[in-house]
């Protein structure tokens, strides 16, 4: 009760009114009391003077009977309790009550006043309030200046109290009525306001509970409550707008304005329900842009973002309005396609998307080529929940990527198997890192002319916990994808360099030891310091080793990578471009690359010397390298004819099964001893 504003205000008003009324009553009572007191004193003096005026002669004449009549007549007036006429010797000459007649008043008060009076020190009537109801008045009877006697009147002034009590009763009642009326009026005034406030409070509570569908009273006028009410209405409108905006933001991608995963899951549920009735399929297409990262790295994020927007626009244009296109994050998109009665439709859609994306796109004044990999998963065939359906589409997308990108794959149950395997393999890599289970094998690099050893390439091998060898093409892509390649490479580099030093100390001429350097490793901020400390730690001279980077990786963002390579070169370490010919090196960049060797990719070697095209390319690469004063080496050389062609073309450094497969430490050592220069 006390917590409501109206109750407090009403109590406040009542208390304030009560106090004011109380003060007023008190003031009136005081004034009335003063007035009555004044009246009483004046009346008492008047009565006394009547007595003194009439008592003089009888007193002088000792006319006791006249005095007796005088006091009796006077005392019959109301308010006179006692009346005395006393002579100049203090003797009572007449009195009411008569018992005092002939006596002398001997109480202290009487004595005091009488002596004051007879001494002449008291000229005026003496008045004294014995108490509220008794007023004592003494008026001297004089002849000229001499006091002949005096009249003393004891007035009963109880009427003052009675009047005050009556007045208190009356105006107290009026004050009470005023207070109650005040309270009532306040309540009436407040009722309207408070009801509006209550409705506002109810609305506010509803809003805090999440409902914006609140009913507000109509606020008219310009008072504070109306202002509050209008502000509240505005606030609700603004809240609605903001919630709408927030819910849009929560369910949409801010960049492409496409719905996000949450909406997709929601719509999948709805689609499943419809599908149960129509018996038609629901499909999820999981789309990942190929090489988007390279675009980002090469042209910067702004271009990457613009590309995503462009791609989203292409999807929208290509797909039907009823299809839900969702950005899942990064360069991943999903498309929900409903009402599929023929699976060919999905192939058509996937092909169309691929075709549309393949066209060169003009983004931020740059021409960008892009493609995508699509995984397709179907409800109810492949999965019964949105999550599984999405995961399966994702798996299918990965499969498409593995199969060379720019294509699409329907989900198969093996994909799940593969996905599981990937998870398993990742954990195996982590375990192998802890267990130092990565081993290094060494493939000799030979001078095809002299058949002498010119160097070794260190290659990583991995064994799982059961001791099975895992092929590099299985675990290395996963290690790169998960970033584990950094630790794997560092472990391999340390082992290889320790082995190199060990051989060198044995006086073996190993030639230069090549090691693969992943782009991720190169981009580690601590890589150069790590390399330096590793050289010191293992006692390796920089000129003993060479690091290989792949052409495609270098070319993703040459402006960033070239300075890093230069830093390696400054340590005195040789650099080689791996898989040369498969990337898209521009000659301008090739010229700037601080490399010492070009490694011709095995794909060009494979069909030598019969394939004239490859032969021409290989000759051209060798010529190019010569013109830049760079060494060349060919990998994947398996036949003598290949070796001969290369040597004849000017590439003397040969690596491949023609000379030797990769060798474990002991075999390598024996090989070195045999073929060292």
């Amino acid at each position: 009760m006390i917590n409501s504003i109206s109750a407090r205000l009403i109590i406040g008003v009542i208390i304030t009114l009560s106090l004011l009324m109380g003060l007023m009553v008190l003031d009136v009572l005081n004034k009335q009391h003063k007035l009555l007191t004044q009246q009483a004193t004046q009346q008492a003096v008047a009565v006394s003077k009547v007595v003194t005026n009439n008592a003089l002669i009888p007193l002088l004449n000792n006319d006791l009977n006249s005095l007796r009549e005088l006091v009796q007549n006077t005392a019959s007036l109301s308010d006179v309790d006692m009346l005395f006429v006393i002579d100049n010797h203090g003797q009572v000459k007449a009195a009411i009550p008569e018992v005092y007649f002939g006596q002398q008043l001997n109480d202290e008060i009487s004595q005091r006043w009488q002596s004051q009076l007879f001494n002449g020190s008291e000229q005026q009537p003496i008045q004294y309030w014995h108490n509220e109801a008794q007023l004592d008045t003494i008026v001297p009877i004089r002849i000229d200046q001499s006091v002949v006697g005096y009249a003393r009147v004891l007035s009963n002034t109880a009427f003052i109290q009675q009047e005050s009590a009556r007045l208190l009763h009356n105006i107290g009642l009026y004050a009470l009525i005023a207070v109650l009326v005040g309270g009532l009026i306040t309540w009436l005034l407040l009722r309207g306001m408070v009801s509006q406030l209550s409705q506002l409070a109810t609305a506010a509570q509803a809003i805090t509970q999440g409902s914006l569908q609140v009913k507000l009273p109509k606020f008219n006028g310009h008072d504070e409550i109306a202002t509050l009410g209008k502000a509240f209405e505005l606030m609700i409108q603004s809240l609605k707008a903001q919630i709408k905006e927030l819910s849009y933001q929560a369910s949409h991608d801010s960049l492409t304005q496409l719905p996000n995963r949450a909406i997709l899951v929601d719509r999948l549920h709805q689609a499943f329900e419809r599908s149960q009735q129509t018996k038609h399929h629901v499909a999820i297409m999981f789309i990942d842009l190929d090489h988007f990262k390279e675009v980002n790295d090469s042209y910067g994020h702004e271009t990457g973002d613009a590309l995503l927007i462009e791609v989203a626009a292409i999807f929208k244009k290509t797909l039907r309005p009823i299809d839900t296109i969702v950005r899942m994050g990064g360069d991943e998109f999903c498309v929900l396609v409903e009402d599929i009665d023929n699976l060919d439709l999905m192939s058509d859609i996937a092909n169309t998307l691929n075709e549309q994306l393949k066209k060169p796109l003009l983004v931020n004044d740059k021409t960008v080529f892009i493609s995508c990999s699509i995984g397709i998963s179907l409800y109810p065939d492949d999965a019964l929940t949105p999550e599984t359906l999405l995961r399966n589409a994702d798996s299918a997308m990965y499969r498409a990527k593995e199969l060379g990108r720019n294509g699409y794959q329907f989900y198969t149950s093996e994909m799940t198997q593969r996905a599981l395997e990937r998870v398993h393999l990742e954990s195996e890599i982590r375990i192998a890192l802890v267990n130092q289970a990565f081993t290094v094998v060494y493939q000799p690099k030979m001078n095809g002319f002299t058949h002498r050893l010119i160097g070794l390439e260190a290659l990583v091998r991995m064994q799982d916990q059961q001791g099975h060898t895992i092929p590099p093409n299985r675990f290395i892509p996963l290690a790169i994808e998960t970033g584990l390649i950094v630790q794997v490479d560092r472990q391999v580099m340390r082992k290889a360099m320790l082995q190199l030093v060990s051989w060198r100390r044995k006086g073996l001429n190993t030639g230069v030891l090549s090691m693969n350097l992943a782009l991720k490793q190169l981009q580690q901020p601590d890589f150069i310091p790590f390399l330096q400390s590793l050289l010191e730690e293992t006692g390796t001279q920089p000129e003993w080793i060479e690091l290989e980077v792949t052409e495609s990786e270098v070319m993703t963002n040459p402006d960033v990578i070239i300075p890093l390579l230069e830093a390696i070169r400054e340590l005195g370490i040789a650099l080689s471009i791996d898989d040369f010919g498969t990337g898209y090196s521009s000659l301008a960049y090739l010229k700037r690359l601080p490399i010492t060797t070009l490694k011709i990719d095995r794909s060009f070697i494979k069909d030598l010397p019969e394939d004239h095209e490859d032969a021409a390319i290989v000759s051209a690469i060798i010529g190019l390298a010569e013109s830049f004063a760079i060494d060349t080496i060919a990998e994947g050389v398996e036949t003598e004819a290949q070796k001969d062609f290369l040597v004849a073309a000017g590439c003397h450094a040969i690596q491949g099964y023609f000379y030797s497969q990769p060798l474990i430490v002991e075999q390598a050592e024996a090989y070195i001893r045999h073929y060292q220069a």
């Binding site: 208390i15 002088l60 008060i109």
Partner: protein, 298 residues
């Protein structure tokens, strides 16, 4: 905050209420206590040749003086509204001491009083017949059929002596004039001044007092004739008053004229003082009364 406010409001209200209660609380009523009058008390009656206030003013100081000189004794001056009531009181022996005129003195001697002193001088104890100056009276005969104002029938100097004087000069007041008895000396004088009566009878003490009080009016009046003087007023004491008190009072009165204080006290009485006297000193008065009675005057 609201609760605090509420608290103070409540305290304020309680204080106001308490103040209200305080006003209503009853007290023991006051009642004076009394005891009988203990001192010896003597009443003194002066014959009303002046009105009561003037008489009081003139004689109360002398009584106060007596009280101061005689321990444990109180004196009250009791005036009388007129001669009749004075004489009645005298006959009843109501006064312990009295100052009656010579006629009343003779009367009092048979009511238990004795003469202890008399006022001086005797020469003032005479009657005066006064008239307005404009009345042009030269002969006693002129008074016949005219009105005359007297104080009272028994006023010796102011009534009986002028009446007897006019009788001896051929005018019988009771038969040949219209007498009016107007109770007091001042009334008699005022009557003639106001032309209510043709002439008035009074005596010197009263006339001088009146002249002092109304000097302008006095200029319009004149004294026509004076009677021969008789013995002045007597100081009498009731015989049952202790002799010691009577003697002390008499001695103090007689000695008044010896001191400045005494003279000052005597001044308002229009007398020179008191001289010791006895009943025998009033024999001439008795004789005058007999002669008066023989004349057949009322």
């Amino acid at each position: 905050m609201f609760k605090q406010w509420l608290k103070w409001a409540a305290i304020g209200w309680i204080i106001l209420s308490l103040q209200g209660c305080e006003q209503g609380s009853a007290q023991q009523p006051y009642q004076p206590t009394a005891a009988p009058h203990h001192k010896e008390h003597y009443i003194v009656g002066i014959h009303p040749y002046l009105n009561s206030q003037k008489l009081y003013s003139a004689y109360a100081p002398i009584l106060t003086y007596l009280e101061q000189q005689i321990p444990n004794v109180e004196f009250s001056l009791e005036t009388s509204s007129d001669y009749a009531s004075y004489e009645q009181k005298l006959r009843r022996g109501q006064f312990h001491f009295a100052l009656p005129n010579p006629y009343q003195t003779i009367e009092s001697l048979s009511s238990g009083y004795r003469v202890t002193a008399r006022m001086a001088p005797d020469s003032v104890f005479k009657g005066l017949i006064i008239a307005r100056k404009d009345s042009q009276i030269k002969q006693h005969e002129q008074l016949k059929q005219r009105s005359i104002a007297f104080t009272a029938k028994t006023a010796l100097a102011a009534t009986m002596m002028p009446k007897y004087y006019l009788y001896m000069n051929g005018v019988n007041v009771d038969k040949e004039m219209q007498p009016r008895y107007v109770t007091s000396q001042f009334s008699a004088i005022m009557n003639v001044y106001n032309k209510d009566t043709f002439v008035a009878a009074t005596w010197p003490v009263a006339y001088k007092a009146w002249q002092r009080e109304f000097p302008e009016a006095a200029n319009e009046l004149e004294t026509l004739w004076e009677t021969p003087s008789l013995v002045n007023n007597a100081w009498i004491a009731r015989k049952d008053v202790p002799t010691s008190v009577t003697d002390s009072v008499t001695a103090l009165l007689v000695n008044l004229s010896d001191t400045d204080q005494g003279k000052a006290l005597l001044a308002p009485t229009s007398s020179d003082g008191f001289i010791a006297a006895s009943d025998a000193d009033y024999q001439p008065v008795r004789e005058f009364l007999n002669a008066y009675q023989s004349s057949g005057l009322e």
